[in-house]
């Protein structure tokens, strides 16, 4: 009887330990959200940073554990201050999504720097604690490290609570969170409060990274991504901005994952996090533990800078067209290959610029549409033997239909909730692909995908591929331009500018978001399908969050909603780094910097928002 329970006690201990780490991340996110009103996507990178500082102290310099912890706290706090001062402070008064995107850029830069300094390979991070385990029930034990993590978690929670409720600075922070304008009126330096909160949150995140590194005795720069996601899930479950909610959210998430792994196996682990996140977003956007107040977000205020799209003069347009037409004839296969890449990204970016720009749904899950299109086309062609010329548009249709159905729950959300929901949906798609082995090949991926061809004519050489992609880009661009000139162009933008006023004139926001996703999903599905047949191999990692972020950066670079801008952005961010090979290895750094600088200095993008 008791022995049947033993693994459950282990799962519980494990869940609470990991939950403590999630809670540290979530509390940091909640603090920053409460005071600075933004979702800090760099939280995971600060977490990795803390782990690496810990590695330098503990494994390299062989410092004792308390000193290591202290150094990690201070270094992470310093990083938080830098992020606040140079990343988010300049964006005060801009829409929240702007600051959110900047923290994504900061995260990319930190991750890439960690990779450059410490190499992408995993490293061991021993805790140096005596490995003693205490029996808490017959067969179930708890180790010293478990106790340390639980202790650090509770102690920092308690310290934070005392600080916020008892100290004058704590009061000032809470006043700033409630109403920063009023706080400024009574003489609180709200900038300093923001900085302090970033320092606090970052030190919590950094310590979390150190502890988790020790827990698994393993660190690598890719842990940022997971930490960001888990922290956000925990914070959203608890209700953004609520500190007790964040702690409970973290523990609930840790336990759910731990029990879920126990029942279904480890590959389902992340699925729980995202399904929970999605359920919370749809049914209780205010979090599980907060009462529904007013809408969590004003219905307007998208990331659209006032500007007019730049029109290229006719001769310039003609010249560009001529160059792209003759490019593969130059006899430079490498250049043609880069051109193909840029065109596929251009196709994806055009579809996202409609969704994120024209109708204002800043999606962080666009890659999922490419994945659906890619898998659909590959499976139709490989399993059913259908001609590739048919399966590629079919991939677009499947992506449009399935993508629209999947994103449907996010239609009633707005602002950064859409971004997070779309990211969660995309992760769920990737995890379903990973776990649906019978259909998708699971982690083995799909190989031997038939090459591009029309009937018996093989078109898989670089030059033909280039012209196929170019043809698709031109057709889709013309169609999208036609759509924007029709009544839909103004209707989509009206929904984006003011959903309430749009409703008053018969434009149901859901309907128009659906139309944008139908068209955008088709384009993105095409891009995914083409790449599947081009690579002849895809797996669940081919189309991940990094791709979604890159395509979004392309779209912002070109100008939200701007078709020509999306294509220009693809050339600049995809083709240019390839041409300068030294740059290619620092690509993430370039993307991160591009994102930050654009949002700060040219939010309307190069060619202007449309």
């Amino acid at each position: 009887m008791l022995s049947a329970l033993t693994p459950w006690i282990d799962y519980t201990v494990n869940g609470l330990v990991i939950g403590n780490i999630y809670a540290l991340l979530a509390v940091g996110l909640a603090l920053i959200f409460g005071v600075a009103d933004l979702i800090n996507f760099a939280v995971g990178s600060v977490f990795s940073f803390g782990a690496y500082i810990g590695w330098v102290c503990a494994a390299y310099l062989k410092l004792p554990l308390p000193v290591t912890i202290l150094v990690v706290i201070l270094a992470s706090a310093l990083l938080g201050i830098v992020i606040e001062r140079f990343g988010t402070r300049p964006l005060q008064g801009r829409s929240r999504i702007a600051a959110l995107l900047v923290t994504i850029g900061i995260g990319l830069i930190i991750d890439q720097l960690l990779q450059i300094i410490f190499s992408p390979d995993p490293r061991a991070l021993p805790s140096g604690l005596p490995d003693r385990r205490f029996t808490i029930a017959p067969g179930a034990t708890i180790g010293t490290l478990d106790l340390l993590i639980a202790g650090v978690g509770s102690a920092s929670g308690l310290a934070l609570w005392l600080f916020l409720s008892r100290s004058r600075i704590g009061w000032a922070i809470r006043a700033t969170a409630q109403d920063s304008e009023a706080a400024r009126q009574v003489g609180i330096f709200t900038d300093r409060m923001n900085m302090l909160v970033f320092a606090l949150a970052s030190s919590l995140g950094g310590v979390g990274g150190l502890l988790i590194g020790m827990y698994y005795n393993n660190i690598d720069p890719s842990m940022s991504f997971n930490a960001t996601l888990k922290g956000i899930v925990a914070a959203m479950v608890g209700g953004l901005g609520s500190l007790p909610g964040a702690i409970i959210g973290g523990l609930v998430l840790g336990l759910t994952e731990s029990y879920g792994i126990g029942i279904f196996g480890a590959s389902y682990r992340d699925l729980f996090a995202f399904v929970i996140l999605l359920l919370v977003l749809v049914f209780r956007p205010q979090g599980m533990f907060q009462r529904a107040g007013r809408a969590p977000e004003p219905l307007t205020g998208t990331f659209i800078a006032w500007s007019r799209p730049l029109r290229l003069p006719r001769p310039v347009q003609a010249a560009i067209l001529l160059v792209v037409l003759v490019l593969p004839l130059a006899g430079q296969p490498y250049v043609t290959q880069i051109g193909i890449n840029a065109l596929i990204y251009g196709l994806a970016a055009m579809s996202l610029t409609l969704v994120a720009g024209t109708v204002g749904q800043v999606s962080l899950g666009h890659a999922a549409l490419l994945a659906i299109g890619g898998y659909a086309s590959a499976l139709f062609a490989a399993n059913l033997g259908w001609p590739v010329a048919l399966t590629i548009p079919l991939g677009g249709v499947v992506a449009a239909a399935l993508g629209t159905v999947l994103i449907y729950p996010a239609f009633r959300m707005s602002g950064h909730y859409v971004s997070i929901a779309s990211m969660a949906i995309a992760e769920i798609v990737a995890l379903v692909i990973l776990n649906w082995t019978g259909l998708t090949g699971g982690s083995m991926g799909l190989s031997g995908i038939p090459p591009l061809a029309i009937g018996p004519i093989d078109l898989s050489d670089a030059r033909s591929t280039y012209y196929i992609c170019l043809g698709l880009v031109i057709v889709m661009a013309l169609l999208q331009a036609r759509l924007l000139r029709s009544h839909l162009g103004r209707s989509l933008r009206a929904v984006r500018d003011d959903a309430i006023a749009a409703k008053s004139f018969g434009l149901s926001p859901s309907r128009y978001k659906m139309i944008a996703f139908l068209f955008g999903g088709f384009g993105a599905g095409l891009a995914g399908a083409i790449s599947a047949h081009l690579f002849s191999y895809i797996d669940s990692n081919t189309f991940g969050l990094d791709l979604s972020i890159l395509v979004l950066t392309i779209v912002i670079l070109g100008g939200l909603g701007n078709i020509a801008g999306a294509l220009l952005g693809a050339v600049l961010l995809v083709a240019l780094p390839e041409l300068f090979r030294e740059v290619a290895q620092y690509r993430e750094l370039v993307y991160g910097l591009a994102l930050i600088l654009l949002i700060r200095f040219r939010p309307q993008g190069l060619l202007g928002t449309a």
Partner: protein, 281 residues
């Protein structure tokens, strides 16, 4: 003929009763003003009528049809259009496009009414542009241009300017033009003259009088009493969520309850007041 009838409409937020037991009717062709001090519940009443808020109790009938709690998207199709207190124009759209949005609910060909596949049909028709869709769009464009000319030299020269570049008064004009593009049977105007100077207000008054002569039914909230007196057949006075007086402008201005609501008890004792202190936001 009664166009709008409101019966014991109530709505509270938390502990505050924003609208309590409001009842009135509006006949076709009538222009009625809703006045009252700030916080009296006028805008909430509008939000209840236009579907932006759902009433706790009471009912609203429009053109003989019960419309209580209908969504705004549906009400516009019945011919009920409104403007907003703080000028909600579509900032990135041109003036002309703002006006065209007002006619969205009138698009017959461009927005096929197929229940589930409607969005797909709308997308395909926008891409294919069949002749009926093109003709409809051309007719609306022409109509919108005509509508802009009703505002003299204010809007027509700026037809292609983005709405965010307009002055405050011009944004209010765009709102009115946008609502008119819907060809509403009832036009709800929430403080149309707010933020306008005297000559601009007078200009607006002429426009609204014009509309009135053409038989446009209007319900308007307004603090500028001159405008209300000139324009409205009847006036409804609200205070603290309830209707405290109703009748012609001359009747309500002598009503002690109205004077009390605006000026307090001491003023009420002195009898009629001629000018309600202007309250602008």
């Amino acid at each position: 003929m009664t166009l709008l009838s409101v019966e014991t409409l109530s709505r509270s937020f938390g502990g505050i009763q924003a609208v309590r037991d409001v009842s009135f009717t509006l006949a076709e062709g009538e222009t009625v003003g809703v006045i009252g001090p700030n916080g009296a519940g006028k805008t909430t009443l509008f939000n209840l009528l236009s579907g932006h808020e759902r009433p706790d109790s009471g009912r609203v009938a429009f053109a003989g049809r019960e419309i209580t709690g209908w969504a705004p998207e549906r009400l516009i199709g019945q011919g009920l259009a409104r403007t907003f207190q703080h000028g909600r124009v579509f900032a990135n759209l041109s003036v002309l496009d703002n006006v065209l949005i007002g006619a969205s609910a009138r698009l017959r060909y461009a927005r096929p009414n197929w229940s589930l596949l409607g969005p797909l049909g709308e997308l395909l028709r926008a891409l294919l542009q069949p002749p009926a869709v093109r003709a409809e769009e051309a007719a609306l464009q022409a109509e919108a241009q005509t509508l802009l000319h009703r505002f003299g030299e204010r809007l027509a020269p700026r037809a292609n300017h983005p709405a965010h570049s307009l002055s405050y008064a011009n944004r209010r004009r765009v709102e009115i033009a946008r609502a008119l593009a819907a060809r509403p049977r009832l036009l709800l105007l929430d403080e149309p003259a707010a933020g306008m100077n005297e000559s601009e207000t007078l200009e607006l008054q002429h426009l609204l009088l014009d509309l009135k002569t053409q038989g446009q039914t209007m319900l308007l909230i307004e603090h500028k009493l001159d405008l209300v007196m000139q324009l409205c057949d009847r006036v409804i006075v609200m205070d603290d969520g309830a209707v405290i007086a109703a009748g012609t402008a001359a009747e309500v201005r002598r009503d002690p309850a109205v004077i009390r609501a605006y000026l307090g008890d001491s003023a009420a004792a002195k009898g009629e007041f001629t000018q309600v202190p202007e309250v602008t936001l």
